[in-house]
Amino acid sequence: MRNIILIFVALAAFSCTDQLNEINANPNATEKPQAAYLLTGVEKQGADLYWGTYYNLSSTLLFVQHWARIQYPEPDRYEFSNTSAELTTLWNTGYATLVTDLNTIIAFPNEEANSNYKGIAQILRSWVFLLLTDTYGDIPYSEVGKTLVPKYDKQQDVYTGLLDELSQAAALLDASNGSISGDVIYKGDVAKWGKLAHSLRLRIALRIADRDDNLAKQTIASLNVADLIASNDETFQFTFGSSPQHNPQSAHFDTRDDYRISKTIVDKLITLNDPRLPVYAQLPSDTSVYIGAGNGLSNSAAQNQGLSKTSLPGAYFLQPNAPAVIYSYSEVLFNLAEAVARTYISGNAEDYYKQAITASLNQFKITNATDINTYLAQPSVQYDAANYKRAIGEQKWIALFGQGPEAFTELRRLDYPQLTAGPASVLEGKIPVRFFYPGTEQSLNKDNHAAAVASQGVDLLTTKLWFDVN
């Protein structure tokens, strides 16, 4: 019978192959990616992720007590499951969007992407992997994109690998290799990308400093300060546009009113007479003093603080085009201060520390020299050589306001300021020190997930990561 049927359809089969191919050509999307378009996409989507509702507003910004939730404070009490978007978005967007698009650029033949594209892509990819390991610990790294079920690499191996990758990436960059379009952050200035690569190496070296002092020292010693981000103009930040491509923090307040600035940081800024207070916070509509909201309260306690009696985050942060700061000049200076303090490089730690604070104040448009010097002269602000982690930790925490992911990692590494979990928080008085792996990993990458948990420790919010010694 088969033969009879084949005769029936043979004619169609011969005459229609082209036609059927044409019918199945997808009119909705392109099969042909372009490096410039992918690059814009990664920068935009990376900024949306880093500064976004899930990874920033309703997780890390609460953990570091920059912000507090006045309505629906469950995330502020750390009531998450392993499917909560707050904890899974970094993983899903980081891998399936950012790393994948960057891998596409890296895999292009040279005619389609010159080596500058590839260098930039590798730098951005290193940044994404850094976020992932800082947040989850052991992560898929060496096998990403190569198998359905990539293994998890140890955090130490990820950091070490990224240090190498960033060196390679910096070496790919040269203005003579061809121009770059689609770069909405540095406008194709490859020198600035090179500075970012080296600055990221500085950041990573300090991450591992408490564990692998030698490699940290060797890495930082090899850096040339002049090759680092050298001014606020060179800060790695994404400047948003107007609605709907506006700053995610601004976008959130368009329709919701869930957050206030945290009481913890407001009180600290008040204590320090910090000129950044009016930038970081708004006056409540009912009072003329800045009042932060408590973290980790019960729903009723949170609401009873009163929406009109507590301070919103500063207008600077809520304007549509507010930048998503990813690596600031101020952070570079804090890192150099710490590198000196750790005797990795020579120099004056206190000078770097003061420059870092100054850079931060400048970043928020506080430029009056008298005000700055008055601030720096206060004993409570002064550098503490005996406990550099405290001094740097506290000031870095203030400088990183709004930049939850980095603040979260540095808080865990430097252990200052010492924060207290909110009264109704659910981790027995602890503050999270990592994210859960997404629950989907248990379904989709079962064995590798199990191996990672066996190696790193139970998949809990309170399981310390390798870099986090204390």
Partner: protein, 1051 residues
């Protein structure tokens, strides 16, 4: 010539097919006594044509004409005995004493040997020759139910058919036959109307928030049951293999009414009224009102007062104490319960049906023209659906060898506003606001002024949402075909049919300016154009080869074209208030569109060989060439072989108690192609940023080497009729393996993609279906029919990928995951469980709250253990009373409503422990306050010691919020689905008032639950019709109970 051979072969069988003998013997008769009369169907009163009338004592015989009338002249003197025979009806003998007109009513035979059924491709076959199970539902059973969605009308009627409905009485319904045979596919059967395959999708644009806020009806709900003559279910690949790719999930064949055999003027009018009210609304507690921590006072409803931003009922006792409330302008007024506040929001839904059909026929033509208008208002205020169906069914014998015809259905659905579904969110969800609720809220006060509200943090006034935040739907649909049949020579026929199903569906979503959560308002248009066309040519040949062997062969060719277009545009913020146009947008419009099309060329053939009318063998084969597959795999072939043996005839067992016994069996394979555009991996374009185009991964890795997936099914069955057809049984056993499934598997994002297309996966379904029909009592005036059906299906996911890397496939993840896990039943509910010790005690943390297990586990399966139904019909003279009870036992459902209801403290289940009166423990809280609402969670600490930490009731009931296990319920239910009563006036009575027929009927649907454990919901509910939304309910609208009244008049 051929007839003669037939006669001879039948003569040798003597008792068989007596009507044919009569036909032969009647040739050449002449007579003296004239007799006249007509023959009608006993049940419907419709005239029957082609009925054989034979004089018992003599040789004379004739057939009824198209009006069911006969005239016969016999040589025999009066009284004359007549034998009356018709296919599918019980033979009757009557005695005629005079020359007056006689009316003979024939009763339909159950399991009659010669029953003719519609098989694949619309071919009619004698049921005895089929090697697989089919089951028929008559049109009047469907119309009687008065369901507005025909899928709901099938509930409990057919063994192995499972239906679920989603949202109240205006939403979608899902049908699955013999379990889920596809891991990722939609698993619903193909619907075919008069030979034209039609669409039954539930359209929602992907990745658009607004698209999901309503549970739009599945497309087959467009049909008007009044137009349906019969519905035949082909339950699996064995029956449906000739339909090709889409047959793996079975086929529902719908035959619409034609104009044949009409009497009188042929006008039928129908008027129906159905009233519906909410039937499964949960109970609420009415002891405590809005607030937190026992405190509440209203100022602005968004945190300005004491807990007045809270949308929960953990506030003060409803004891009449004086508290300012939303309607009191700051004046303290009594804080009291309004137990019916939610119930009062719902209204009585009213459905009006007006239908008229004109039918007529003569020797050459027949036609039926039907028009029906249905207006339905829902139980949710300001909801309405209007549906108009116009149908034309016509055939014309243009030449003695050529018949041409055309069918057309034009359906206009106009819904000014549909009820907000689970995903309506704050702007439109209905139950959302009532489960997050203050129990003291006086609904009447909300109704007085839509601008005020009990809570302004999250919601707008429920009437504001119902009347201002609307979603409309307009659908224009045409289903039709042209066809012609040519009788080329004796036994050789050619059929041609070209049919189409085409519709536009446009939805408009309005959110009023000033709505809480969407302060600027918004406007969205979402439009679809869907079409499917099929052109088919079929050549068939029937021949008796030898005396004992007959065969039918056919071969054909089909071209199918499908297309889909979606255009979505949204003004996310309105510029000028309340001007709902796309151009009135403050922000750039959000827009997307999606087009797809596919074409399949198919060639098919079948052969049936019959031996001595008791053994049959059927072979089929089909070869498809699909545009969705890569060139090298584009063509795929699949065969089937089925057979049947009429044991009673073979073994000579007829007579005595046994009327009929048959065994059947077969093996079939069905191939299935991919979706369009699953070969090449693509990149999506997003809105350009600052003039820079954005391209990004579609997150799905496609597969250029995809090949067709296959379902292989083995089925055996047994049928018997006993006691003069007073009892009948049909048993089917089947085993289906679906292999090489085209799976868009969710993969770890770390693989680089969220989804990858693989060609693997194997799922097994096996099961038993039993249908039993009994007529326990039958007298001339009274008859009791008892029908039972029972079905068990067991599915097992055998493998996902060939390498065994994947252990679970996520079918859906509304909040718990619905997965297909290797080695497990399909549709496992996978999520967080309580952390337990070795003894099974729940472990609590230092605060006395339950801990969640670190690893997710399977919490249940949405597929039931078994399903069955009992239908009883009692007929006394012209009154008929019937009741349908159906049961679905086993299976689980995750209730998002319960998760909310407990958290927000509105469920009666949150009363225990809330004060001393309700058994609360006295304790001192962290603030040093002494309180009497303490509860200890029943569990142990990590060290194994008994938990002694006292939680406040509020903390206690909130403590399991993120533990999915706490909200898993047994989905078993037994429903008294339907009670129906009808009365048909006798012809004699109504002839006097000029009518041909008059039937009055009344029906109650969803009468009561006879059993269920999930008391707060309808466990039959699901989120929508997709696989991954089964076993999951969240904030679903209550199911309705309806009371229908109907008048059917024939002129």
């Amino acid at each position: 010539m051929r007839m003669k051979k037939t006669v001879q072969s039948i003569l040798s069988k003597k008792t068989f097919c007596s009507f044919v003998i009569i036909f032969t013997l009647s040739i050449g008769a002449y007579g003296q006594t004239p007799l006249k009369g007509n023959v009608i169907d006993d049940a419907t009163g419709e005239p029957l044509s082609g009925v054989s009338i034979q004089v018992k004592q003599g040789k004379e015989s004739t057939y009824t004409n198209s009006k069911g009338e006969f005239v016969l002249t016999t040589a025999q003197p009066l009284p004359v005995e007549l034998k009356i025979n018709h296919i599918g009806y019980k033979p009757v003998e009557i005695t005629v004493n005079d020359n007056n007109h006689v009316t003979v009513a024939l009763e339909e035979a159950v399991n009659n040997l010669n029953e003719v059924v519609v098989a694949a491709l619309g071919i009619t076959r004698e049921k005895k020759s089929l090697g697989y199970a089919t089951q028929k539902v008559k049109g009047d059973e469907l119309t009687a139910s008065k369901e507005t969605n025909i899928v709901n009308a099938l509930a409990g009627r057919i063994a192995g058919v499972r239906t679920t409905n989603s949202q109240g009485d205006m939403g979608s319904a899902r049908i699955v036959i013999r379990g889920e045979t596809s891991i990722a596919g939609n698993n619903q059967p193909l619907f075919v109307i008069d030979g034209v395959p039609v669409d039954n999708s539930q359209l929602t644009a992907p990745n658009v928030g607004g698209g999901q806020s309503r549970d739009f009806k599945n497309a087959i709900a467009d049909l008007n049951p009044e137009d349906i003559a019969s519905l035949n279910v082909l339950k699996g690949p064995n029956a449906a293999a000739l339909y090709g790719s889409r047959a793996a999930h079975g086929v529902v064949l719908i035959t619409t009414k034609s104009g044949k055999n009409k009497q009188g003027l042929g006008i039928t009018a129908n008027i129906g009224l159905t009233l519906a009210n909410v039937a499964t609304l949960t109970d609420f507690q009415d002891v405590f009102g809005q607030g937190e921590n026992g405190e509440f006072s209203y100022v602005d409803g968004k945190g300005g007062g004491v807990n007045d931003g809270a949308d929960e009922s953990w506030g003060p006792k409803l004891d009449g104490r004086l508290i300012p409330q939303f309607h009191s302008n700051g004046v303290p007024v009594p804080f009291v319960a309004h137990p019916n506040n939610v119930k009062d929001f719902f209204e009585t839904g009213i459905t009006n049906d007006y239908g008229v059909a004109i039918a007529g026929s003569d020797e050459k033509y027949d036609f039926r023209l039907g028009a029906n208008h249905q207006k339905q208002t829902g139980t949710v205020p300001n909801t309405e659906v209007n549906k108009t169906n116009l149908t034309l069914h016509s055939d014309y014998q243009i030449h003695k060898r050529i018949k041409v015809g055309a069918n057309a259905n034009y359906i206009v659905t106009d819904a000014p506003n549909l009820p907000g579904g689970s995903y309506g969110q704050r702007a439109a969800g209905v139950m959302l606001q009532f489960l997050w609720f203050g129990r003291q809220v006086d609904m009447a006060e909300l109704k007085k002024d839509y601008t005020r509200n009990w809570n302004n943090s999250y919601y707008s006034n429920p009437y504001w949402r119902a009347y201002y935040n609307t979603t409309s739907q307009d659908r224009n649909r045409f289903i039709g075909d042209v066809h012609f049949d040519i009788s080329i020579a004796e036994g050789l026929n050619f059929k041609f049919r070209s049919g189409t199903d085409y519709y536009n569906d446009r939805r408009k979503y309005k959110i009023k300016t000033g709505t809480n959560g969407t302060p600027d308002g918004s406007y969205t248009e979402d439009a679809y154009t869907i079409s499917e066309s099929n052109t088919e040519a079929l050549l068939s040949y029937t021949k008796k080869l030898a005396d004992d062997i007959s065969f039918d062969i056919l071969g054909g060719f089909n071209v199918r074209n499908n297309s889909y277009a979606n255009n979505y545009q949204r003004a996310p913020k309105l510029a000028a208030p309340d001007l709902f146009t796309l151009s009135n947008s403050k922000d750039p419009l959000e827009s997307s569109n999606y087009y797809s099309r596919l074409r399949v060329y198919s060639g098919f053939a079948s052969a049936q060989v019959g031996y001595k009318d008791y053994a049959y063998l059927n072979l089929t084969g089909r070869n498809d060439i699909s545009s969705t597959l890569p060139a090298q795999n584009r063509s795929y072939f699949y065969p089937s072989i089925t057979g049947s043996i009429i044991l009673s005839q073979l073994l000579g067992l007829q007579g005595g108690v046994l009327d009929y016994a048959k065994i059947r069996g077969g093996w079939a394979e069905v191939g299935n192609d991919a979706e369009p555009y699953q070969l090449a991996t693509v990149y999506n374009i997003q809105t350009a940023f600052d003039g820079n185009p954005i391209q990004t991964s579609s997150k799905t890795k496609n597969n250029p080497d995809i090949k067709a997936e296959k379902t292989k099914s083995t089925e055996i069955g047994f049928e018997a009729a006993l006691f003069g057809n007073r009892a009948s049984i049909d048993i089917a056993l089947y085993n289906a393996n679906s292999i090489d499934q085209i799976l868009k598997v969710q993969t770890s994002a770390a693989s680089g993609y969220d989804y990858q297309l693989i060609n693997a996966g194997k799922i097994n379904n096996k099961g038993i279906e039993i249908q039993l029909g009994v007529v326990p009592v039958k007298t001339s005036k009274f008859k009791w029919n008892l029908d039972l059906n029972y079905a068990v299906n067991r599915s097992k996911v055998v493998e996902l990928d060939k390498e065994g890397l994947l252990q679970r496939y996520v079918i859906g993840a509304p909040s718990v995951q619905i997965v297909a896990a290797v080695g497990e039943k399909y549709g496992a509910i996978f999520g967080t469980a309580y952390k337990r010790d070795a003894q099974g005690n729940i472990i609590v943390d230092n605060n006395g709250r339950p801990k969640a297990a670190a690893e997710n586990t399977i919490l249940g399966y949405y597929t039931p253990e078994w399903a069955g139904a009992i239908s009883n019909t009692f007929t006394y003279k012209r009154i008929s009373l019937s009741a349908l009870i159906d049961a679905s036992i086993g299976g689980s459902i995750y209730s998002g409503s319960a998760q909310t209801g407990y958290y927000a403290g509105v469920y009666p289940g949150t009363l225990p422990g809330r004060d001393a009166e309700h058994g609360g423990l006295t304790f001192t809280d962290a603030n040093g306050k002494t309180r009497d609402d303490g509860i200890i969670f029943d569990g142990v600490k990590e060290d194994g010691s008994k938990n002694t930490t006292i939680l406040s009731a509020e903390d206690y009931y909130k403590s399991s919020y993120s533990i999915n296990e706490a909200y898993i319920y047994d989905a078993s239910y037994v429903k008294l689905r339907e009670i129906a009563l009808s009365y048909s006036f006798s012809k004699k009575t109504i002839k006097k008032i000029g009518l041909e027929g008059l039937t009055l009927s009344a029906i109650v649907r969803n009468v009561a639950f006879l059993y269920r454990t999930a008391k707060h919901i309808d466990p039959e509910a699901a989120l929508n019709t997709s696989n991954g939304a089964q076993g999951y309910e969240v904030l679903s609208l209550p199911t309705t109970r309806s009371f229908g009244f109907n008048v059917n008049i024939k002129f």
